[in-house]
Amino acid sequence: MVIVAMALCAPLLAPFSPSNTPAVAAPVLGVPTSVAAPLDAGSVAIRADAIWLGDGRVVEKGTLLLSDGRIADVGTNVSVPSGTQVIELKGTITAGLIALHGYSGAPNEMVDGTRPSMPESKLRFAFDPSHYDFEDARKSGITTIVLTPPAEGVAPGITAVVKTAGGTMLSDAAHLSLVFTADGLVSNRKPTSIAGAMAMMEEMFAQPRGSVALAAEGKLPCLFETTTKPDIQRAIDFAGRHKLTGAIHGAALAGELAESIHDAKLSVIVPVIEIGKERRALVSVAELAKKDVRFGFGLDSPWNHPSELRLGAAMCVREGLDSAKAWSALTSDAARIAGVDARVGRIDRGLDADVVLWSGNPLDLGSRIVAVYVDGVRVVGGDR
C-alpha cells in the first residue's frame, strides 16, 4: 500500500466526535452496510506528488484537505489543523470519475416496452443505492453515475445523477431522454419508423406539458439518444426548432459532425469504447476536442465493466486526443454535462470531497487506485 499514515495522527477519530464531524454533508438514503460504518467524514489531509484540479491545472507536491465531506482547501500552502490525519501519497489525486450513461443500481429499468412515450418516468425511483454494481464502479474510481432510461420508444424518461457510495442523489431530474435512433423502435408498437417517431415527438412538443414543457422552456436539458450520424443531424435540427439544450449520446462517429454540434451548442456523451473499437471512432473523439465540443463518456454499466470508462479515454488519447481534454471529459466536463458541476467533477474549495488517489498518472492504465473518497469517506482502499 502506498498510503502511509503519518505522524500527527490524532487519537483515533471517533466516528461522531463533535470536534471532527458536526454533520454529514450529503443526504444519506439506505446506505449499504459495507460502506456505512463508520461513516466518518472527518478531516483528512493528503499530500501527493500531483493534484489534478480537473480544469487542466495541476498542483505539484500539493496538499488536499478534506473536511466534513467537502474539499476544505487545496494547494501547496495549505494549513493543516493540528490533530488532522495526514496521508502521504506517492502518486496523483484527482476528482472522482463520472460515468454519463449507465444503468447501475437500477436493475429492472432496462426495458419498459409497453408505451412508446413516458416523459414523466423518473429514473430516481429506480435507484437502489445498496446495489452491488456500485461497488464495482467505486473500485474503478467512478464516484458519480448518470442513470439513464434505455433508448427505447420516443421519450423513455428522466435521468438521475447519483453517487456510487452513500446513497447520495445529486440530481433527481438531470435530462429528458429523447430517442432519435431506429434502434429504439420495435415492430409491434407505435412508432415503427423513424419518421413516425419524429411525428410523435413533434406532437409532444407542440403542446408541451410537464417535463416536456420544462425542456421546451430550456429549464431541463435533453439527452438525445442516437446511433448514426443521420440520427445526430435529426437531433440537432429538432433541438434547433424547439430551442433545446443538452447532450447527444450514442453515435460513435459524432466527432465527424463536431462543427454542427458545436454550432448547436450541444454536448456529446461518447458511447462506451470497447476493446477493438474501430480507429475511426477514436479519431472522431479527438475531433470533438479539437472543435471545442464539450464531451464526456458513457459506460452503460453494468453491461460494461467500470474499468472501460478510463480504458476508452486511454484508447482515444492513443489516437490523438489531448490528455488534459480526456481527463476533463472523465471529470469536470462530465459534471457540467450532468448539471452537477457545482458539487463534483473538480478539486476546488467547497466542492464535495469525492476524490481518487492513484499510484501514478491516472491516464496510465497501469496506475492503481490507492483509495477512493466519496463525501470525505474512504470507500475504497486502506484499512477502512
Binding site: W303, R318, G366, R368
Partner: protein, 486 residues
C-alpha cells in the same frame, strides 16, 4: 452494449464448415519455412539507437544500438558503428515486438467459428495476408508484431494453431512464423446459436448457452481420452518400429545362415519333398516365424498430431475457466508426464495455483473488461487474475481473447489493465515478449533483441506498456513498417 458475448456469438454464427484438410505434411511437423524473414524481404540495413534498450525482460542497456540486416538482428550493444547506407531510427526506449498469443488477426474470420475441426485441422490453411490489412496495420502501430491464431476458437477441438507475423506481405509463407505452434481444445464454453427454452420448456429463441456440468466434465474425459489415444498410437508406432527392426534383423540372420548352408538346406528340402510324395502326403513347406512381417498401425492423421501432443512435442492449449473443469483436467493429466499444456482463460484457476506452479503449466489470461452480460463460464472473471496467479508463482501469458481481430491492437492496453490490477510491469512485459515466445516454442526466433533473431523491434517514446507511451517506429520482417508519419 454488446460485450464479449456478442462478439462470441457473432464469430460462431459466422461459422462455415470447412472441409477437414488432409494434413499429412503437417503431422510430420517442423516444416517451418527455412528462413522466411530473409527469403523475400528487402535487404535493408537498419540502425536503431535507443536511450534504453531492453534486450530481454529485465535486461536494459542504456545508450545502445541494434543493427538489423536482411530481416535479422545482427548485433546489439553499445558503441556499435553505424554501417554506411544504413537507415537510422532512434527513440527513448527500444524493445522486442509484442506477441499476442491468443489472437484472431490474420486468419480468415469464418475459420474462427469452425466447429468441425479435428486435432489435425490446421490454422495455417486459413492464414490470410490479403484482407483486413487495416487491422494488422493498427496492431503494428500499437507495437504488436506477432500473433498466434487459432482455427475453431470456440470448438471443443479447434486444431493446430499457427504463429503469424503481422507485417504487410503478399505471400502467405512470409506471414507464417511457425505453422504448428499448438493444438487447441476448449472445455465448457457457452455455445452460440443454441436453442434456449424458458421455464415452461417452450422454445425461447437462439442464443448463447452455457453447457451443463455433466456435458462439461464429459468434455474433459473426451479430451483426456484423445490424448491417451495419441499416446497409445505413439506406443504402437514405437512398438512397430522395434518389431520391424527385430524382424529385419532376424531375416538378415536367417538369410546369412541359408546362404551358408545352401547345399544342405536344398538337399534336406528335396528329401522332405520326396518323403511326402512317397507317403502320399502333401508337402508342406516349413514356415518360419520370421516370415511374419510386422504390420504398421493404421495411419491416422489426428492420432499423429495427438501423439506429438502426448509426447510433449506440441503444446496443448485448453480453454477452460471453471473450477470443476480445471480440477478434472489437472487430475486427469497427472499421469501424462510428457504432456505440455497451457491453460487458457482460467477465470477460476487461482484455486489451483500451487499445482499449476509446480507442474509449470502457464495460464493464458485475457484481461478484457467484462460487464455483467458475460458468458457463464466467465462469472468469476476479474482483471486481477493475472496478478493473483503471478503472485502464486504461476507463469502468466496475456492475450486478447482470440475472437476479435481488432482486439490485438489493444493488447498493450489490456496488459496495462492487468498491471493496474496488480500485475508487476515486468511480468506483463515478459508475458508479451519472451514468455509468450518460449511457451509457444519460438523463443529462438522472436521475443527478445539478440543477434540472430528475427528483427521485430519497437522504438518507443517512453517505457513500454505505459498507456501514454507512443510507438514511434516498428521494424518487422526486416523493414520499417511504422513511422511517426504513418
Amino acid at each position: 452494449m454488446h460485450t464479449l458475448m456478442g462478439r462470441f456469438t457473432l464469430a460462431l454464427s459466422a461459422a462455415v464448415l470447412q472441409p477437414v484438410v488432409l494434413a499429412s505434411s503437417a503431422v510430420e511437423g517442423q516444416e517451418a519455412p527455412a528462413s522466411p524473414a530473409a527469403s523475400s524481404t528487402p535487404s535493408e540495413t537498419i540502425f536503431i539507437r535507443g536511450e534504453h534498450v531492453i534486450t530481454r525482460p529485465g535486461t536494459v542497456i542504456d545508450d545502445a544500438q541494434v543493427l538489423v540486416r536482411n530481416g535479422r538482428i545482427v548485433a546489439v550493444g553499445k558503441d556499435l558503428p553505424m554501417p554506411e547506407g544504413a537507415r537510422e531510427v532512434s527513440g527513448t526506449w527500444i524493445c522486442a515486438g509484442f506477441i499476442d498469443p491468443w489472437a484472431a488477426i490474420g486468419i480468415a474470420p469464418e475459420s474462427l467459428g469452425e466447429a468441425g475441426g479435428t486435432p489435425a485441422t490446421r490454422s495455417t490453411d486459413s492464414v490470410d495476408p490479403y484482407n483486413f490489412d487495416h487491422l494488422r496495420r493498427d496492431a503494428l502501430r500499437a507495437g504488436v508484431t506477432t500473433a498466434r491464431v487459432q482455427i475453431g476458437a470456440g470448438a471443443r477441438v479447434g486444431g493446430i494453431g499457427t504463429i503469424v507475423r503481422l507485417a504487410p506481405t503478399t505471400k502467405r509463407e512470409d506471414m507464417v512464423v511457425l505453422p504448428d505452434s499448438n493444438v487447441w481444445m476448449t472445455i465448457g464454453l457457452s455455445q452460440g446459436n443454441q436453442m434456449s427454452f424458458d421455464a415452461q420448456g417452450d422454445f425461447a429463441g437462439f442464443g448463447s448457452r452455457a453447457m451443463d456440468p455433466f456435458e462439461r466434465l464429459e468434455s474433459v474425459d473426451r479430451l483426456l481420452q484423445m490424448i491417451q489415444a495419441g499416446k497409445n498410437y505413439l506406443v504402437q508406432k514405437n512398438e512397430y518400429k522395434h518389431e520391424l527392426e527385430a524382424w529385419q534383423k532376424t531375416i538378415a540372420e536367417k538369410e546369412a545362415e541359408l546362404e551358408k548352408d545352401a547345399k544342405k538346406a536344398k538337399k534336406d528340402r528335396e528329401k522332405a519333398e520326396k518323403d511326402a510324395t512317397e507317403k502320399g502326403k502333401k508337402f508342406e513347406e516349413k514356415k518360419y516365424k520370421e516370415d511374419k512381417k510386422p504390420t504398421p498401425p493404421r495411419f491416422d492423421e489426428d492420432n499423429e498430431v495427438l501423439a506429438r501432443v502426448a509426447d510433449g512435442g506440441l503444446p496443448l492449449i485448453v480453454h477452460a475457466n471453471r473450477v470443476a473443469e480445471i480440477r478434472a483436467l489437472l487430475s486427469g493429466s497427472e499421469s501424462m508426464g510428457r504432456l505440455r499444456w497451457i491453460l487458457a482463460g482460467g477465470a477460476e484457476s487461482t484455486f489451483f495455483s500451487r499445482q499449476l506452479a509446480e507442474r509449470r503449466i502457464p495460464v493464458l489470461v485475457m484481461p478484457v473488461p467484462m460487464g455483467r452480460n458475460r458468458p457463464d463460464e466467465y462469472e468469476s472473471h476479474d482483471l486481477s487474475l493475472a496478478a493473483r496467479l503471478k503472485k502464486d508463482g504461476v507463469q502468466v501469458l496475456l492475450g486478447s481473447g482470440g475472437l476479435d481481430p481488432a482486439a490485438t491492437r489493444d493488447l498493450p492496453l489490456l496488459a496495462g489493465l492487468a498491471i493496474g490490477a496488480g500485475l508487476d510491469r515486468q511480468a506483463a512485459f515478459d508475458a508479451l515478449t519472451l514468455g509468450a515466445a518460449r511457451a509457444l516454442d519460438v523463443g529462438d526466433r522472436i521475443g527478445s533483441l539478440e543477434a540472430g533473431k528475427d528483427a521485430d523491434v519497437l522504438v518507443l517514446d517512453g517505457e513500454p506498456l505505459v498507456s501514454t507511451t507512443r510507438v514511434r517506429f516498428v521494424v518487422a520482417g526486416g523493414r520499417v513498417v511504422v513511422t511517426p508519419e504513418n
